[in-house]
């Protein structure tokens, strides 16, 4: 009983913190950037990470099995993975803005999980015999981590497509504020402060195109790196699932809908990685493939579960309308 109270408290805390972080981002987008608040948004994501970690650990203790056995738990794990990706990308490169993507994703998945749609799944349930295996930890956690990374990368590509194909954006003036005032995207710090005052008015037009070009370039690069990382996790997840299936059901590949869709996801992102080897296909073309991948991940994760058939029926749910 105490564990469930603990879990409730932790989910509420993390939910609120992520909302605050998103609010900070929105504010800095629409108003001028405030440096101190921005750093605290970083700390906010770290706090969220610890909250969700605490949630998962308490659920592990209270139910006795690794907290990844049904859809609710996997959604919480997904939002946890988003916060991890955010922290990792900050370690990689202190200046990127991946949090714009990860924070809303974390909050949406968490919100959906805790919403009224899935109340019957929120109590920790017992594991059926087929799930009692050490492989559960490796296979499902790798898959959910990979979903998180691939979703981030696909969202970055979608952002790239939006920016490439929209000519006049009102908000672009505001984004320029953001970019000029910040030492983001790997520009040298010394340039920025001068630009802030002198260049803003005079060179605004060409500057805007230059920044747009740089932004597209950066989005392209980050989407590539994040998707490569997600692809590695996806490969390991699919293969460990196959080995587990061989141990449990006797065949390493059953053309189960979930397995097939995971393989389709893998194929689409392999196509994405291959389109990047040719210089003339980079940019918009590979971004289109990655955006297709975004849809396919959702079909793989949710769509197949809605059908509720096949060997992977543990994650199935029906949307109950109250």
């Amino acid at each position: 009983m105490i564990f469930s109270i603990f879990e409730h408290i932790l989910t509420h805390i993390s939910f609120s913190i992520v909302s605050i972080v998103i609010t900070i981002h929105l504010m800095s987008l629409l108003v001028d950037r405030i440096v101190e608040l921005y750093d605290s948004s970083d700390k906010g994501i770290i706090t969220t990470f610890f909250c969700i970690t605490g949630f998962l650990i308490s659920r592990w203790i209270s139910s006795g099995h690794f907290p990844l056995s049904d859809l609710y738990e996997s959604l919480m794990f997904l939002s946890w993975s988003f916060s991890i990706i955010h922290i990792v990308s900050k370690i990689w490169n202190h200046k990127n803005h991946l949090s714009v993507i990860t924070a809303p994703s974390a909050i949406f998945t968490q919100g959906f999980a805790t919403s009224g749609l899935l109340t019957e799944l929120q109590q920790s349930a017992i594991l059926v015999p087929a799930l009692k295996s050490q492989w559960l930890m490796m296979h499902v956690s790798m898959m959910v981590l990979s979903y998180a990374a691939l979703l981030c990368g696909s969202l970055l590509s979608l952002a790239l497509l939006v920016i490439t194909f929209r000519k006049n954006i009102e908000i672009f003036g505001k984004i320029n504020h953001l970019l000029i005032g910040s030492s983001s995207f790997g520009f040298g710090e010394q340039c920025m402060n001068e630009r802030n005052n002198v260049l803003r008015n005079t060179f605004f037009l060409s500057f805007r195109n230059f920044h747009r070009y740089q932004l597209i370039h950066q989005l392209d690069y980050w989407s590539y790196r994040v998707i490569s990382l997600g692809f590695i996790f996806l490969t390991i997840g699919i293969l460990s699932g196959a080995v587990w299936a061989n141990e449990a059901w006797g065949a390493y590949w059953n053309w189960d809908p979930k397995e097939t869709w995971a393989f389709i996801t893998w194929t689409i992102f392999a196509i994405y990685l291959h389109t990047r080897t040719k210089k003339n296909l980079q940019g918009a073309n590979s971004a289109i493939v990655a955006s297709l991948g975004f849809l396919i991940i959702w079909i793989c994760y949710f769509g197949v579960n809605l059908l509720g058939i096949g060997l992977h029926s543990y994650g199935s749910f029906t949307l109950t309308s109250n």
């Binding site: 015999p129 692809f231 590695i232 490969t235 196959a242 393989f263 194929t267």
Partner: protein, 558 residues
């Protein structure tokens, strides 16, 4: 393997006798067998082969722009690489000498085919088609009777306006994953994989492993990242790079360093691993034995009787004569009554009747013997043993009752009174699992629940029933699969090489120009982190201050 050295400016025919005397007579005899891939002396064919290779190689090679001709000497070596000097500043060797190290002598048709197959857009198209077919395979219900498709995709009301059952059945979409269309696409993809590995990636490995110094400052400054550092020494740079994990080579005033070369090899490993998995999968599909059996507790079966071959490569072995005896089948339950795990205690006896193995299996814990694996997949209720009015025990056969969903329900019936009358009445017993039996009387009213072995009789309309035992049956799935070790090897390789291919291959050249150091570098994957890393290194290089005192090193930290 590749300890070949030749001078490309000379006519190869003169070189051959020095290096490979063996092969010279092969040339004249029009080389029928081509075991050695060192047949570099195919300049007669080289010119026409040039074309096909360039189609495939174009993507990888031309990152520096144009293919400027001809370095003076190219040495390909295994182990400790030796140096080569490139006067023109271009470390790319021309197409013909590159590929002639690897190609066997093909006829012209296979060469063109190879060129076509290793085309990247074709491979991308194949992957798209395979993905689309798989998606279609999940939407169309697989393995149903033709009647199902007649109803679901009728001709008078086609889905999307054109999709009728004729499409489904003639193209084999009802068994999509073993249909000729799908398998044909997979074979095509495998062929493309092999062609691409052969023509594009293996030469790329050679180019990447061979490295050269750049001797002019302009060449260095043309790199993606380039900088000049006054009052520095190239030796300090070398030490810093070595500390950062680079392999550094210094020759006089010039320096070459690289890191992450494995990241260039790994994609080859990925392709090879995929081919290995495909081969293993084919072997599994064509050469295994499978079968399932439901065995009540206490009975035996012979392995060979229950398994069926799956393809033309399946060959039975001696272990198929083993007899399996189910000693006991039992289940564990949670406190809530749900099934926690089911267990079967098995004994294996060989053809002489000697027990060779005894093991209790459960789900996720199979039994392996002689290449055959037995999995616990299911369970059933075989019989209920009861005492009626103290007589017995009688074994009542239990039948499964149909329910929606996964839950099972079994029932049996004990007739009371005349068993020949048309409306036989009796006691009904229902059970969801082996732990409790629910009893109903002749009118169908609920009477009570009893556990087997509890020795508590129940009185139903004057008849005393005591449940002695619930005998379950174990659902086993047996399989022997020769392709599994190959597939597992492919899996492991794929996981490893995918991880390694995340690494970025970075190369740095430097030249000591007087007191200035000119540095240039490039990397293939980490294009944003590389300049920052380089800047960090450059900041760490001590500045040489001109003074009569011994050299002061001021390490500039940031």
């Amino acid at each position: 393997m590749e300890s070949l050295s030749f001078n490309s400016t000379q006519i190869p025919k003169q070189v051959i006798p020095q290096v490979f005397t063996i092969n010279s007579h092969l040339l004249q005899s029009n080389f029928k067998c081509c075991r050695f891939s060192f047949n570099t002396h195919l300049h007669t064919l080289c010119s026409s082969r040039n074309l096909s290779l360039r189609i495939g190689c174009e993507l990888k090679i031309s990152s520096d722009g144009k293919n400027k001709p001809i370095p003076k000497k190219i040495i390909l070596s295994d182990g400790a690489p030796s140096l080569s000097e490139d006067v023109s500043g271009n470390e790319k060797i021309p197409a013909k000498s590159r590929k002639s190290g690897m190609m066997r002598p093909f006829g012209s048709v296979p060469r063109k085919l190879l060129g076509v197959l290793s085309n990247l857009p074709l491979a991308i198209g194949e992957m798209f088609v395979i993905a689309a077919l798989m998606a279609l395979g999940t939407f169309i219900d697989q393995g149903e009777a033709p009647d199902f498709y007649f109803q679901k995709y009728p001709e008078d009301n086609p889905v999307f306006g054109f999709f009728t059952w004729r499409w489904v059945l003639s193209l084999g979409f009802d068994h999509m994953f073993s249909s000729p269309v799908f398998l044909g696409m997979l074979v095509l993809l495998a062929a493309s994989l092999m062609a691409c590995t052969y023509t594009t990636q293996i030469p790329l490995v050679k180019v990447a492993r061979r490295w050269s110094f750049l001797h002019s400052a302009e060449a260095i400054l043309k790199q993606e990242f380039a900088d000049t550092l006054p009052r520095a020494s190239v030796h300090d740079l070398g030490i810093i790079l070595m500390g950062a994990g680079y392999e550094v080579f210094l020759k006089g005033p010039s320096l070459y360093a690289f890191k992450g070369l494995a990241g260039r090899f790994a994609p080859i490993g990925v392709h090879l691993a995929m081919l290995l998995i495909m081969v293993g999968g084919t072997l599994s599909a064509a050469g295994s034995f499978k079968g399932s059996v439901t065995v009540p507790q206490g009975l035996n079966f012979i392995l060979g009787d229950v398994m069926n071959p799956t393809g033309f490569l399946s060959t039975p072995t001696q272990t198929f004569n083993t007899e399996v005896h189910v000693n006991r089948f039992y289940m564990d339950y949670y406190e809530s009554g749900e099934v926690s795990q089911f267990y079967t205690d098995l004994s294996l006896f060989d053809i002489d009747g000697k027990e060779v193995l005894r093991k209790t299996i459960s789900v996720n814990d199979p039994l392996r013997y002689g290449g055959i694996t037995m999995y616990q997949t299911d369970w059933g209720f075989s019989a209920l043993q009861i005492l009626k009015d103290g007589e017995g025990p009688f074994n009542l056969a239990v039948a499964p009752l149909k329910l929606n969903g996964d839950k099972k329900l079994y029932g049996t019936f004990l007739p009371v009174g005349g068993a020949d009358s048309p409306n036989v009445q009796g006691i009904s017993m229902l059970a969801r699992d082996l732990q409790s039996i629910v009893l109903y009387d002749q009118e169908g009213k609920f009477v009570g629940v009893r556990r087997p072995g509890s020795k508590l009789p129940i009185d139903i309309n004057g008849i005393q029933i005591e449940i002695v035992d619930a005998i379950g049956s174990s659902g086993l799935f047996l399989k022997t699969d020769p392709g599994v070790p190959i597939v597992y090897g492919g899996f492991g390789t794929l996981m490893l090489t995918t991880c390694i291919s995340f690494l970025s291959h970075s190369q740095i050249w430097a030249l000591q120009d007087g007191t200035t150091v000119v540095i240039g570098g490039k990397t293939n994957r980490a294009k944003v982190e590389f300049p920052e890393e380089m800047n960090r290194f450059l900041d760490m290089i001590p500045e040489i201050v001109e003074s009569s005192l011994p050299k002061q090193s001021e390490i500039i930290n940031h």
